[in-house]
């Protein structure tokens, strides 16, 4: 038991807890993002028009984030329509925990 006591050192314990929690969170989000992104075809280097279905009541914080990742067209209840969304931004949207689904209409 004595040789494992270093695990209980506060700084190490706190750091490990934060690291493990962060890792689990990122992995879960990655899986969820992969599921969302697999449901449509993303065209690299093109800008997409999308509809994002959110699972929460939107706040100024979310609107600000939306604006920095695309041009907002309209908000209809829990659906947000945006255009000029790049593939990188689509990836960002897919990784947000408060977004349930994304529908993409690729520019033709």
């Amino acid at each position: 038991m004595n040789k494992y006591r270093w695990i209980l050192h506060p700084s190490l314990a706190v750091t490990m807890i934060v690291l493990v929690f962060s890792l689990v969170t990122f992995v879960k989000r990655d899986f969820k993002a992969a599921e969302i992104l697999a449901s449509f075809e993303m065209v690299p280097e093109k800008k997409h028009t999308i509809m994002v279905e959110v699972g929460i009541e939107l706040e100024a914080f979310h609107m600000e984030r939306f604006q920095s990742h695309g041009k907002m067209l309209k908000v209809d209840a829990n659906k947000v329509y945006l255009r000029a969304v790049t593939s990188k931004n689509l990836d960002w949207f897919a990784h947000q925990p408060w977004i349930n689904a994304i529908t993409v209409w690729n520019r033709g």
């Binding site: 050192h9 506060p10 947000q96 408060w98």
Partner: protein, 273 residues
């Protein structure tokens, strides 16, 4: 059975001192709940612990809290390390050059007394809102305690050590590396601890004015938008975060350095001596 002496984790958790601390916090929460519920004022003016907990869960579910926490912590870490670098660099230059020290010491004393909040409006004008202003402010806040303490340490370093190195033909760099730096390390650690504490307060003030995210922003934005429960969530997170930083990083760092070197004794150590 004396549980306070038990080396097991359960023994540490059942420590009477810790239990008394937890009981104190629970009593405070109970008094808060009774006061808020039966005072007759609206929850906007005086939210209950339940309102605050609800607000905490809402912010967590909306993904707001983690982004704000991450932003605050990253600004804090960048600011603190930047401040340490600047403080040490300036202290070395001033500490080794008596003429420069004589010219700049009054200025150092003067600026040490100017609170960071007084600089914020000027920084916003110069650097705009955002990371640059916040990190500049935190650098200022952290650099001065380190600079001040290190200069004090250099002045009180016994000259005989430096003279001894000189008689052995040491260069300035060798004197700095082998005598001055080890000699003032306790002063640097003390300055770092003071600076880290000031930086945390400075971070909250800076975020309230110059940021659109972070715990400081949450506190002031909550009050501005009639979400006082969110303001209290921010305050509790601020206190808890500082406790974690202090207990998990700063105190162990102090124990591993200046306490181990015998430069500082704790109250417990003095009682047993």
């Amino acid at each position: 059975m004396d549980l306070s002496m038990s080396p097991t984790l359960l023994g540490k958790l059942l420590n009477p001192k810790l239990l008394k601390g937890v009981a104190g916090i629970l009593l405070f929460v109970l008094a808060w709940h009774v006061g808020a519920k039966y005072s007759g004022v609206s929850s906007y003016f005086f939210p209950t612990p339940h309102d605050v907990f609800d607000a905490f869960l809402t912010l967590l579910n909306k993904g707001v809290l983690e982004v704000y926490l991450l932003d605050s912590l990253s600004r804090y870490v960048i600011g603190v390390f930047s401040g340490v670098f600047v403080g040490l660099s300036v202290a070395i230059v001033l500490g080794l050059n008596k003429k420069l020290a004589a010219i700049f010491s009054p200025l150092v004393n003067f600026f040490y007394a100017v609170v960071e909040a007084a600089w914020l409006p000027l920084f916003v004008i110069w650097f705009g809102y955002g990371l640059t202003t916040i990190v500049t402010l935190l650098t200022y806040v952290v650099a001065f305690p380190i600079l001040y303490n290190m200069l004090g340490g250099i002045r009180t370093l016994p000259i005989i050590y430096i003279n001894a190195m000189r008689t052995l033909g040491a260069t300035k760099f060798q004197i700095l590396k082998d005598v001055i730096f080890p000699g003032v390390l306790p002063n640097i650690v003390v300055g770092f601890r003071i600076g880290a504490g000031f930086a945390f307060r400075g971070l909250i003030i800076a975020e309230a004015i110059a940021a659109t995210s972070g715990i400081g922003f949450l506190i002031f934005d909550g009050a501005a938008n009639k979400h006082t429960d969110r303001t209290i969530v921010g305050m509790i997170i601020m206190g808890a975060l500082w406790l974690i930083i202090d207990l998990a990083y700063l105190r162990p760092f102090e124990r591993a350095t200046i306490q181990k070197w015998g430069m500082v004794t704790t109250a417990e150590q003095r009682e047993t001596q």
